[in-house]
Amino acid sequence: MILPGNTSCQGCPISLAMRCLDEIENPVLVIPAGCSTVVAGLHPNSAMKIPVVHVPFASTNAVACGLKEAYKRLGIEANVIAWMGDGAADIGFATLSASAARRDDIITVVVDNEAYMNTGTQASLSTFWKAKTTTSPLGKRDEKRNLALIMIAHRADYVATATVGYVEDLRRKFRKAGKLKGFRFIHIHCPCPPGWRFPSEKTIEIARRAVASGAWALFEYYNGKLRFSGVGRRYVDKKNRIPLADYLRSQGRFEHLSDEEVKELENAIEKEWEIIRKFSND
């Protein structure tokens, strides 16, 4: 639902993700500050084939809630989509959490490029451990927050992780969310060529390596059950994964890592998988 000739960088995963929005009926996009704001078009042009309501940074889910409430009362069928980056999920976290707790009947999509990219690659709470950003020049030392697990803890109606590396899987999840009711949350992994420092042609390959090394888990949670997604199922088992170094060393933001640090990160990933497995029913 995005037209060619938009402002996105070469190889931009957000643009690719927006192409998949045709899987959802009657969409209305709510977009806060971030890359998506610019990709959606600069006045007087809109690059989107669907309506867009641009909003201040921390307000996305609340504006989406207001739109949906009004559409409901006015008898208008609409899938209101709060479409934000990991930056907006940081600054708008209280808004996001309350929206999930209220069970707002909206779809929330977080396009996660693991940094505040639009302002020049500053570290966010979603930035991968030890990654180099302008505010973590020696590698990020903070913990990495897992938004999908947090949404499961809110008992959201539908939670999914996806990646631009597997667009059929992403489209399937958009399609499913578009048909459901209640609070739906989709967390999309978006490798960013300029921010992560890799050639623009490698976006999809790096996204797939993230899944294959276990760095990005693919699953869906609904009706109280967590199920791993088909394309990522084999990597649930540590034995089937590719070495984490294959994923990390393909990106400039990790070029400073020693082998011990890569090992540390492999353990960190496995620790996170232990928590995910506790939720799963597979």
Partner: protein, 377 residues
């Protein structure tokens, strides 16, 4: 108090029937909201505005008001929710005070710049630090530059009438409208209010967003267009004065942008706004009794600022403020900008009681030429 309101409801009155009830300004505003029939209401509690939204929640629960009430987690989200609902075409309402207004400040600019009609009640309370829950005007003056219409009521009746007028005017000019009442002295003080049922037209607005549309609202905009948007808002805010004055008769006949109290032959004029003007008027009467030709220009609106009425003031002018910017009061600055050399007294901050005797003292000092710029501590 509630039984009385219950009776008011079951009487089921039509257009033109007036019923008198004993209501606080909070309750009066809630009644006006019920009559205006907004469709989406979102608010976060804060002393002393909480009773407004509590009453509204009760009205909805009892089926007296058919609206969606969204329980938000902050004032920023409250204004965001009503911005979203207004974008889709719904009539909306929220209420706040003090720190809540400060927290939603960014969204206040956004909804005004988006040119969406909305109504907000502000129970004007001091903004810290340090903490203070009582009444002054330091919070509502925050809205001055955002592009809102800002009204200040003096009585519960005026709060009721002005809230109804707010829905009408904001939808006429596509500018959000804030109705200010003094914290506690008005919000929690009961007065006799005539409840009546005016005809408020169907909601209309300059634009709305539907799923079938193919445009974006408020995208990144370069200089000239952005400036044009701000200019349009400023011009329409100026022109809203005409709509406010024209509709004054329909909504309680309170005087338009200002109320002129004993100003016709006055050599001394006091300029004030808000609930404490009631006591000021008593002091005016007492000084008149002593032979001083003194009158009060009560500003009913802070925006659009009543420049014409202020410029027409002859003689000596004193501005008494319940909110300061620096050493000067805010109204003092606004009045001076009209080319008037006014005296300025700042009083009543943090809810410090300023009664009739205090006003008499201040006005006495004024007419006897003993006031420049000072704080009544």
């Amino acid at each position: 108090m509630w039984n009385l309101q219950g009776n008011v409801q079951t009487k089921g009155y039509r257009d033109g029937t007036r019923i008198r009830a004993l209501l606080t300004s909070n309750e009066a505003i809630a009644e006006a909201v019920r009559i205006a029939k907004p469709e989406v209401i979102a608010a976060y509690p804060i002393t002393p505005q909480s009773p407004i939204v509590e009453k509204i929640a009760e009205m909805i629960a009892r089926g007296e008001l058919n609206a969606s009430f969204v329980r938000v987690e902050s004032e920023h989200s409250a204004m965001a929710v009503i911005h979203g609902a207004a974008t889709a075409g719904a009539r909306v309402f929220t209420a706040t005070s003090s720190h809540g207004l400060a927290y939603m400040y960014e969204m206040c600019w956004w909804i005004a710049g988006s040119r969406l009609p909305a109504v907000m009640a502000v129970a004007t309370r001091s903004i810290g630090a340090p903490w203070n829950i009582h009444g002054d005007h330091t919070d509502i003056v925050l809205l001055r530059d955002a592009g809102w219409i800002i009204g200040m009521a003096e009585t519960a009746q005026e709060a009721f009438d002005m809230t109804l007028q707010a829905f009408f005017v904001s939808e006429e000019v596509n500018i959000p409208f804030a109705v200010g009442i003094d914290a506690f002295t008005m919000s929690h003080t009961a007065e006799v209010v005539e409840i009546w049922n005016p005809k408020i037209p169907e909601r209309r607005q300059a634009y709305r967003v539907l799923p079938t549309d193919r445009f974006a609202v408020n995208a990144v905009t370069m200089g000239k267009a952005r400036m044009k948007a701000r200019y349009d808002l400023a011009v329409d805010l100026e022109n809203s004065a005409k709509i406010i004055e024209k509709s004054d008769a329909e909504f309680g006949n309170h005087g338009g942008l200002v109320e002129k109290y004993r100003l016709e032959d006055a050599d001394y004029a006091v300029v004030m706004m808000g609930g404490w003007c009631g006591d000021a008027k008593d002091a005016i009467d007492m000084l008149r009794g002593e032979g001083y030709k003194i009158g009060l220009l009560r500003l009913r609106f802070l925006r659009p600022f009543p420049r014409k009425a202020v410029k027409e003031l002859g003689g000596e002018v004193l501005v008494v403020d319940k909110g300061n910017s620096d050493i000067r009061g805010v109204l003092g600055i606004e009045v001076s900008s009209c080319g008037i050399e006014a005296k300025n007294v700042v009083a009543g901050i943090g809810g410090v009681d300023v009664g009739v005797e205090d006003f008499c003292k201040i006005f006495k000092n004024f007419v006897e030429g003993r006031i420049g710029l000072e704080w009544y501590l």
